[in-house]
């Protein structure tokens, strides 16, 4: 497409990659946390709930700074990842994905938790009397019935990820081809005289991607809920 420059395409591809990795990596963690918050009874639940939701209310620059402390080359978590998995975050796209994941986490946990709480637990009881153990009950009843919320959470998280700005730029800076996702690219273009056309192009792409994400989620949710006709969001 002549409307977009090769640089634009690179930015889009990077944003999509960061968003997909952020959501894919966060999903198991988000589901586990949502499960604990929806079903668990343990001391410190309120505190866990608060910590999970912290990125939602904390200034993103603070989140980015905390990430820098924890996952920087000298941070404790950063060292663990480097030694055990050979993953480094500093000034790399993986760091952008991590920042996006942290920012997306509360939204994903929220959506999944709500859908888990909406599952009629009496249906799980019915499954148990029909011979299903806890694992089969989870896989055949709880998980499919909460799927709309899981999908909605994934798409919300994805949309949040490709829009992430503050934590990303603080944590891994603004490096073309590595950490310069759509919002950072728009910010950069705004700093350059004559960058208006780039800003316009990228802003339109951002809006279209967000809109597409929401529409995809709606379609997925409807398909998943075909037996019930309902949808969550």
């Amino acid at each position: 497409m002549a409307l977009l420059t090769p640089d634009d395409w690179e930015i889009i591809a990077l944003s999509l990659k960061v968003g997909a990795v952020a959501v894919g990596g966060t999903m198991p963690v988000a589901f586990l946390l949502a499960w604990l918050l929806a079903r668990g009874r343990f001391p410190g639940k309120l505190l866990l709930d608060g910590i999970v939701h912290l990125p939602l209310v904390l200034p993103p620059v603070v989140t980015g700074w905390l990430l820098l402390l924890a996952f920087g080359n000298n941070g404790p978590a950063g060292r663990l990842f480097a030694e055990w998995l050979g993953i480094s975050f500093m000034f790399r796209w993986t760091g952008a994905a991590l920042a996006a994941a942290i920012m997306a986490l509360p939204l994903m946990v929220r959506a999944i938790r709500l859908s888990l709480e909406a599952v009629d637990r009496r249906l799980e009881g019915a499954a148990r009397t029909l011979g299903a153990g806890p694992v089969r009950t989870f896989l055949t009843i709880t998980l499919p019935l909460s799927l709309p919320g899981v999908l909605a959470g994934a798409v919300l998280g994805f949309a949040r990820s490709i829009g992430e700005f503050g934590a990303t730029i603080t944590f891994v800076s603004n490096i073309p081809g590595e950490t310069r996702t759509l919002p950072l690219a728009i910010y950069s273009a705004l700093q350059v005289p004559g960058g208006e056309s780039a800003v316009t192009r990228l802003a339109i792409i951002s809006a279209l991607l967000s809109l597409a994400a929401l529409m995809v989620s709606e379609i997925l949710v409807r398909r998943a809920g075909s037996g019930r006709g309902g949808h969550v969001l």
Binding site: G125, L130, G131, R228
Partner: protein, 206 residues
């Protein structure tokens, strides 16, 4: 001996206590709403744990607080027909009916799929979603689902309460046939005198 139940359970301010020993056939637990009838069924099914007591069905001890026996619900072989049908909304009728088949395959199979479908007259419903079923249809499917899970006994919680007169008659005939032809012990909860008089082999007042 079919059901041998001696349980106590405190739920909030109410204390549910029951002691009974029944013969074959359909035993009705009769009493007003709120008397804890459903809780008794849930305890037999393994969905609610008695504080103390013993539950034996046929030769199987399902629960015994003294002997530290507490079989999980999936190993109790109960065919539980709930008041509201409780069909799985994300599975078609056929998949609902087959949900408990895995256990039935390992255990004594009461009747085959085609047999059960014919027995209950639900052949035309197999590809439907539960939400499109009428109350009577849903209840017949729920009975079929319970029968196909290889049950050694049935628990029925007011299976007629959400139905109109014509449907009640239809489901009562099905229950009579289950009682007389399949010869499964049935524990049946109701607050309707006429229903109990017609179906019950013995009655326990709560």
């Amino acid at each position: 001996m079919s059901f041998e139940i001696d349980v106590t359970r405190r739920l909030g301010d109410t204390k549910i206590a029951l002691s009974l020993s029944t013969g074959p056939g359909l035993t009705a637990l009769f009493g007003p709403s709120g008397a804890g009838k459903t809780s008794i069924l849930n305890m037999v099914a393994g969905l609610l744990r008695p504080d103390i007591g013993r539950i034996v069905v046929g030769d199987d001890t399902l629960f015994d607080s003294a002997g530290k026996i507490d079989l999980p619900p999936q190993h109790r072989h109960a065919g539980y027909v709930f008041q509201d049908g409780r069909l799985f909304p994300h599975r078609r009728v056929r998949a609902n009916l087959l949900y408990g088949e895995r256990r039935a395959a390992l255990d004594n199979r009461l009747l085959g799929f085609d047999e059960a479908v014919a027995f209950l007259g639900i052949g035309h419903l197999l590809d439907r979603w539960p939400r499109t079923l009428s109350g009577g249809e849903a209840q017949r499917v729920a009975i079929g689902r319970a029968l196909l899970s290889g049950p050694r006994f049935l628990l029925m919680d007011e299976p007629l309460s959400s139905l109109d007169a014509a449907r009640r008659e239809e489901i009562m005939r099905v229950i009579e046939r289950v009682r007389d032809e399949l010869r499964l012990p049935i524990l049946y909860v109701s607050h309707d005198r006429a229903e109990v008089d017609r179906l019950a082999t013995s009655v326990v007042n709560l």
